[in-house]
């Protein structure tokens, strides 16, 4: 035995049943608008009907304001919303949340379904996205051979990291476009590219529709090569965009993603070489100390040669050193020239010996200041190229240093590596000399 209930109670119960039923909520309904009334409050009421049936609909002001079009009598639409029961009248109605014009509406309906399906399959998952290779040899492009997209891509690629462009010409709109795009993707998968750009220039929603088709989405997701989508579309993402490994807003942007910028690559190489130079410079400065020790032990017989070399050395350095240093060297050089002119050859040797000592001092302070200058410059803005030249090992030889190797060409950096009577080779900037060791002394 059921209790007797009021009309209101009955309608409330019916309302509760309707609003709890998923099949009556958040559904798309297609039909034609009739009996449209526009209230001064901003709400619209109308009937949505097809050939066999009809339902009263409410379109509240908020929902109406967000529509892209103005509803009118006899218009075919797809309306999205939920069934509700108006308790006061015991009538049921459809509350419209949004609407699209029909045709378009049907397509969007199918699109939403497709997106839901592909998403459920995991095709949009971030984990599926593959990394784009950084330095591709060949960029495959799937687009129209006559469209703006391929032109834009070729233009941008001409200024980026050098790679070949391989175009698979396809139809991008109209009948057969989706199948054609799929074939292009497959062709490039079989015949070699490191990354694919799939897309077209901007157009209306209808023009871009091929990129919303399931076949294209499946072709992109099963491509063995990473795919950049480039469907010229600012706002809505196409299904191709959602499935692709990377989405670019335009074909030009896709080319920029596929190919790195040349000048930043140049900078990177410069930075790597700067690290190499720094390490080598350290190694050489250690060697320079060893050379100086050897220098001081040179025989007097070679003093004149050495003075000449040092003079060249000092002249060379004075160009690069500070003004103060230059003036010191200038005055020393000047007085050497004057003195030299006045000296008899007989006395030259002792004077020369004095200069050797003086110039040794100057050259070692010049060396030290040069090294400071160079290491200071390392942090400055001079190019990596200049830095490299400054510490180029050959330049060290040009500055009058030589290095000694054994007869197998291995550098000798310690007296412990030399024994009396052994053959050594002295390498200088312009050649080498073979020598026999007369004596070995430790420090």
């Amino acid at each position: 035995m059921s209790a007797v209930i009021s009309v209101s109670e009955l309608n409330e119960r019916a309302k509760a049943v309707i609003s709890a039923d998923a099949s009556l909520n958040d559904v798309w309904v297609s039909g034609e608008i009739s009996n449209l009334t526009k209230q001064s409050s901003g709400h619209y009421y109308f009937t949505l009907k097809d050939t066999k049936s009809e339902i009263r609909c409410t379109l509240f002001r908020g929902a109406r304001n967000s529509l892209q079009f103005e509803p009118s009598e006899s218009m075919k639409v797809a309306a999205f919303g939920s069934v509700d029961l108006y308790v006061v009248r015991g009538s049921y109605q459809f509350n419209v949340a949004t609407m699209r014009r029909s045709g378009v509406g049907d397509l969007y309906l199918a699109l939403e379904e497709l997106k839901k399906k592909l998403k459920a399959e995991g095709l949009f998952d971030e984990e599926r996205k593959r990394a784009i290779p950084k330095y591709p040899m060949t960029v495959g492009v799937v687009t129209s051979p006559t469209g703006a997209a391929i032109h834009d891509i070729i233009k941008v690629a001409g200024k980026r990291f050098p790679a070949n462009i391989l175009l698979a010409p396809v139809l991008v709109q109209g009948d057969g476009a989706a199948a054609s795009i799929c074939k292009g993707i497959e062709l490039l998968n079989n015949y070699g590219a490191d990354v694919l750009i799939v897309g077209r220039g901007g157009g209306s929603a209808e023009d871009l529709w091929a990129f919303n088709e399931e076949a294209v989405a499946r072709a992109i997701s099963s491509s063995k090569i990473p795919v950049i989508s480039a469907v010229g579309h600012e706002t809505d993402f196409t299904v191709a965009d959602l499935v692709a490994d990377v989405r670019a807003a335009t074909p030009s942007a896709a080319a920029e993603i596929a190919l790195p910028d040349i000048s930043s690559e140049m900078r990177n190489i410069g930075n790597v070489m700067m690290r190499a130079s720094g390490s080598l410079m350290y190694c050489i400065s250690v060697m320079q100390n060893d050379f100086r020790i050897l220098d001081s032990k040179l025989s007097p017989r070679r003093a004149k040669e050495k003075v000449d070399a040092e003079l060249r050395n000092v002249n060379d350095m004075s160009k690069r050193s500070s003004f103060a240093l230059r003036s010191v060297i200038g005055s020393k050089t000047g007085s050497f020239v004057t003195a030299d002119a006045k000296l008899s050859p007989r006395r030259a040797k002792s004077i020369v010996d004095q200069y050797v000592l003086a110039l040794d001092d100057i050259s070692s302070s010049a060396d030290a200041s040069l090294l400071r200058l160079m290491s200071g410059k390392m942090k400055d803005t001079i190019s990596a190229e200049q830095r490299m030249n400054a510490i180029d090992p050959m330049k060290v030889l040009e500055r009058g240093y030589s290095f000694v190797t054994d007869d197998k060409g291995k550098a000798l950096t310690s007296v412990s590596q030399i024994s009396r009577g052994s053959d050594v080779e002295i390498r200088m900037k312009d050649g080498s000399a073979k020598a026999k060791v007369n004596e070995v002394k430790g420090k």
């Binding site: 330095y135 790679a163 175009l167 698979a168 950096t413």
Partner: protein
């Protein structure tokens, strides 16, 4: 000595791709930075680094860019230059 002479020993520098060269260059620089090498070895490594750098630059500055289209015809796959 010669065993760890840098990865470029396996392949002629001119034949290397940009990516391979850059990787080899970075490996050489790592070796230099780790130190403990004699001058000979350091100079060798540096010389190889310069070769690799020059090769990288050549690729960036002088590489040709081919622009082709690929088509499936009755006689099979055909590639032809565009423009």
């Amino acid at each position: 000595m010669s065993k760890d002479d840098g990865k470029d020993g396996n392949k002629d520098v001119k034949e290397m791709t940009f990516e391979e060269s850059l990787k080899a260059l970075e490996e050489l620089v790592d070796m230099l930075e780790n130190g403990g090498l004699d001058l000979d070895k350091s100079l060798d490594i540096y010389e190889n680094a310069v070769k690799l750098r020059d090769h990288c630059r050549d690729i960036l500055e002088k590489s040709e860019r081919r622009v082709q289209k690929i088509m499936e015809t009755s006689e099979g796959i055909k590639k032809e230059d565009i423009q």
